[in-house]
């Protein structure tokens, strides 16, 4: 019994020793876009007010082709690193989600454009390669 306790303690000490210099960082901008809220926006029926109640106020409002466009975004970055005594390396992977809702002159959603990339953000330590 004492042997297993010692082995467990030794394992923890070894893990902590090997983790020295490790860095794991994560940064986000904005709030993740809820898929169900995005899919609830119906072209030709959902109003500007309903979009705001579903997704929230937009991060940006753009005008294009004589229309109001609501832009929502979310950024997610993951960064592992190894900072050792003599050498160190670090990699950060950042991806973005974007939602655009195009409104016609009556304030009704005309087009919805949504792209999600943050699901593919990874903690990748090795800085070489793609």
């Amino acid at each position: 019994m004492i042997f297993f306790k010692l082995l467990g303690a030794l394992t923890v000490v070894m893990m902590l020793a090997f983790a020295q210099g490790c860095v794991v960082a994560r940064g986000t901008i904005g709030e993740p876009l809820q898929e169900d809220a995005v899919s609830a926006i119906k072209k030709g029926t959902t109003t500007m007010t309903e979009v705001i109640s579903l997704v929230g106020a937009p991060d940006r409002i753009v005008r294009g082709n004589d229309r109001e466009i609501f832009h929502y975004y979310y950024y997610d970055g993951k960064s592992p690193g190894v900072l050792l005594l003599l050498l160190n390396w670090m990699r950060m992977d950042i991806k973005s989600d974007n939602l655009y809702v195009f409104f016609n002159r009556n304030g009704i959603a005309e087009e919805v454009v949504y792209g999600k990339r943050t699901g593919r953000t990874q903690f990748r330590l090795w800085p070489f390669g793609d």
């Binding site: 466009i69 003599l86 160190n88 670090m90 990699r91 973005s96 989600d97 087009e111 454009v113």
Partner: protein, 128 residues
């Protein structure tokens, strides 16, 4: 041991923002035919939309920032309480962009890459 000595003082950092878009990935675009929905289905939503004199422009941004440095004083950390620093560092920030211009019917009017990707080495600390 030799390998460790060669790596002494080396630092490699890399920041990758979004996926790289290549010419091959967008060669499905047909001027006057491809719609914004077809574009989003194939390469995702743009990072930005703005209006220009020629129509609405969708912008896809990505970058691959590489930074490498070599500290010639790092080896002294093994022997001295104070380690002098003599560092050479090179950082290459390469923002790249695909711009797609739409007509009022949201079909592609024009598109192009603002910059071409340069295949710089990841480790290149020489700043001169």
């Amino acid at each position: 041991m030799l390998c460790l000595l060669l790596c002494t003082g080396c630092s490699v950092r890399r920041v990758v923002f979004n996926d790289v878009l290549t010419l091959e990935q967008v060669n499905f675009i047909r001027i006057g035919e491809t719609t914004i929905h077809e574009l989003v289905d194939r390469i995702g939503a743009p990072d930005d939309i703005s209006e220009s004199e020629f129509g609405v422009v969708a912008l896809y941004n990505w970058s691959d920032t590489k930074s490498a440095s070599l500290d010639f004083g790092a080896i002294t950390r093994l022997f001295l309480p104070y380690s002098p620093s003599l560092t050479l560092r090179n950082t290459g920030i390469t923002p790249e962009q695909l711009q797609v211009v739409f007509d009022p019917q949201w079909t592609v009017r024009a598109y192009g890459f603002s910059r071409r990707r340069t295949d710089e080495p990841i480790i290149w600390f020489w700043p001169f």
